[in-house]
């Protein structure tokens, strides 16, 4: 999976590149509009991660360029926290999803995988981990062929863990993934534990394996057994 990461801040660029490489992605980078146009012209990328604040112009121009070239890459735009206009315009121009800075790595990973899956597996979009089978199209989860009755938040939580399998996800990143801004000022993450408890319970009721592990003091992870 080849990704193009467009970000002008060098430190951030390296950091994200390293993280994605560690997670089995091939990452190329661009730090300006000019460099982006050049690379997009020559190479094909599965997904383009685009920071809108570029030094030589608005990142949205990249989306326009991609549209012009009829290129089939997925686009994930990275916006500043409160620029609603950028988000809206980007999505209207054809971006697949957005993520706001600063973000948790787990969040980035989940969104990337989600876009790639949606793009590539139109007909058959299923993820299997252990005995958990997620049907992305139907937004359903089956354990041992038994359909789980999950609430939206519980489904989102499970999917987040699945996309980040074998990675420890902190309570903060889970909370932010599920509730976004509301959680900003709350310091009590017990409700994350609450939802997790419910998911585990429902998996257990379907005789599933206990693959969601607590890492003491840090968070949770879904372990591929």
């Amino acid at each position: 999976m080849k990704l193009l990461l467009i970000e002008d801040n060098k430190e951030l660029l390296q950091d994200i590149k390293l993280f994605l490489s560690d997670n089995q992605f091939i990452v190329e980078t661009a730090q300006s509009l000019e460099e982006s146009f050049y690379k997009i012209g020559i190479y094909y990328y599965e997904l383009i991660i685009l920071d809108l604040g570029l030094p030589d112009g608005n990142g949205l121009e990249v989306i326009k360029k991609i549209n012009q070239g009829n290129i089939n890459s997925g686009i994930l735009i990275v916006t500043a926290k409160d620029s609603l206009e950028d988000k809206i315009e980007g999505l209207e121009l054809g971006a697949d999803d957005y993520i706001t800075k600063p973000f948790h790595n787990g969040e980035l990973l989940a969104r990337i995988k989600s876009i790639i899956r949606r793009k590539n597996f139109d007909g058959n979009n299923i993820i299997k981990v252990n005995d958990i089978v997620v049907d992305l199209n139907a937004s359903e989860v089956k354990v041992n062929h038994q359909l789980l009755q999950l609430t939206k938040k519980e489904y989102d939580l499970l999917l987040f863990l699945v996309f980040n399998k074998n990675r420890v996800l902190t309570k903060e990143s889970i909370a932010e993934h599920l509730w976004g801004d509301h959680i900003d000022n709350a310091n009590n993450f017990d409700f994350v534990y609450n939802h997790l408890k419910n998911v585990r319970k429902k998996i257990a009721e379907a005789n599933g394996e206990n693959s969601i592990k607590s890492v003491y003091g840090m968070g949770y992870k879904l372990v591929e057994l």
């Binding site: 430190e11 951030l12 560690d22 800075k101 990143s173 900003d184 000022n185 709350a186």
Partner: protein, 415 residues
């Protein structure tokens, strides 16, 4: 002891009155001296005549020989007669008559002299008249001066004073200078302009610096957090490192939240949220409460709403969102399990109250940045943010402690 203060004009007037007093004194002196001089002239005149008359009498002239004056022989008995003067008018002319006793070699004589003093009198009254006219003129001038001139002369000065009074740093209202020919006012204006320019420049630099700081902090923080998350995710992480990593992660998150809030505060100060609209609070708040259901379910907290349909907030929606979320979050955070949070609106106010867990009122300092009573876990910026948002939208937030409830009320500035 408080220093007494007088207006500049009244000081000027005081001096003028002083000078006027001197002038009046001088005038009185002139008049007096003139009169004295004239009287001396008259007396000396009479006395010279007396000497001549005595000489004539000694030469043997008979008393009846004299005309225009009367001479009568008298005895030594009247030698000590005191000279008298009498003024009278005859045929429109002023006369002065002197009765005296002279001693000649040939005996004592009673003398009655008179003199036409019409001209002298005219001179006296002319002097008096001139002085009175001049004095009155001066008094009228002073009154006029007091009434009209100050407005003219002091106009630029008063203009400067009112500009100084209304000056607020950072408001970028440019100082309008009034052209004036008074050197002191000119330099006052120049100095004030220079001073405010410098202050504005410094203020803007500081603001820029703070803005930049808030922005620049974000990237390094994001990277630290990212690296820490990587460590957390590392399956080979040594168990004895987890405490440290946990701490680093927690504090980095706190810093991150802090810098986000500071960035928001500086954006608010930069007046970047000017898209104000009228927002009906009833439905807005109802929606907002729904989104908090997860949090409230956990603590079994209920909302009790008493809202009127015509309460509106005139504010940028982005800021309203932050403000209300902040207050509701706080209410939930600081309420015990099974509590009820009250939300009430009237036509002019919005109130949220939650039961206090410490049974005594919170310090008013809770609205200060970074205020933190030692029991709380939060960063202390939330309420100061709310207060700032209120300020720039001409709203007022008040805290009160009633019936063991922490009550926050937002009302408009003028109500």
């Amino acid at each position: 002891m408080r220093q007494k203060s007088f207006s500049l004009l009244s000081k000027f007037t005081l001096f003028f009155i002083l000078f006027l007093g001197l002038f009046i004194t001088g005038s009185v002196y002139i008049v007096h001296k003139t009169n004295e001089h004239i009287n001396n002239n008259i007396n000396q005149n009479f006395e010279r005549k007396q000497v001549h008359i005595a000489e004539r009498l000694n030469q043997g002239v008979k008393p009846t020989f004299f005309t225009t004056l009367t001479v009568e022989k008298t005895t030594e008995k009247n030698a000590k007669f005191k000279t008298t003067h009498r003024e009278y008018i005859e045929s429109d002319q002023n006369f002065i008559e002197q009765k005296s006793v002279i001693e000649a070699e040939v005996g004592y004589y009673f003398l009655t002299q008179k003199r036409n003093i019409t001209e002298l009198k005219r001179i006296k009254s002319a002097i008096l008249k001139t002085l009175i006219i001049t004095l009155s003129g001066f008094i009228i001038l002073i009154i006029l001066f007091n009434l009209f001139l100050p407005k003219l002369l002091f106009k630029p000065f008063n203009h400067i004073i009112s500009q100084i009074k209304n000056y607020k740093i950072g408001e970028s209202k440019s100082f309008t200078s009034k052209p004036t020919s008074t050197r002191e006012f000119q330099s006052l204006q120049q100095i004030f302009m220079k001073m405010t320019h410098r202050a504005e420049k410094d203020f803007n630099n500081l603001k820029q610096y703070t803005d930049n700081m808030a922005h620049e902090l974000q990237t390094p923080l994001a990277i630290i957090r990212s690296k820490t998350e990587n460590l957390i995710s590392d399956n080979d992480l040594m168990v004895n490192h987890t405490q440290n990593i946990k701490s680093i992660y927690k504090e980095t998150n706190n810093l991150s939240k802090l810098s986000k809030s500071l960035k928001l505060l500086s954006k608010i100060e930069n007046k970047e949220f000017t898209n104000k609209t009228n927002i009906l609070s009833e439905s807005y708040i109802k929606n907002l409460i729904l989104s908090f259901s997860e949090l409230t379910d956990l603590k079994n907290i209920r909302f009790e709403q008493q809202m009127v349909p015509d309460h509106v907030f005139y504010i940028d929606e982005y800021l309203l969102d932050i403000m209300l979320k902040n207050l509701i979050n706080n209410a939930i955070l600081y309420s015990e399990k099974d509590s009820i949070i009250h939300i009430k609106t009237t036509k002019t106010s919005f109130t949220i109250s939650n039961p206090s867990s410490i049974s005594k009122p919170l310090d008013q300092k809770i609205f200060d940045r970074f205020y933190n009573d030692n029991n709380s876990v939060s960063l202390g910026l939330g309420l100061s943010l709310v207060k700032k948002i209120c300020e720039i939208n001409k709203l007022v937030i008040q805290y009160s402690f009633e019936n063991n409830q922490n009550k926050f009320t937002i009302s408009s500035l003028n109500s």
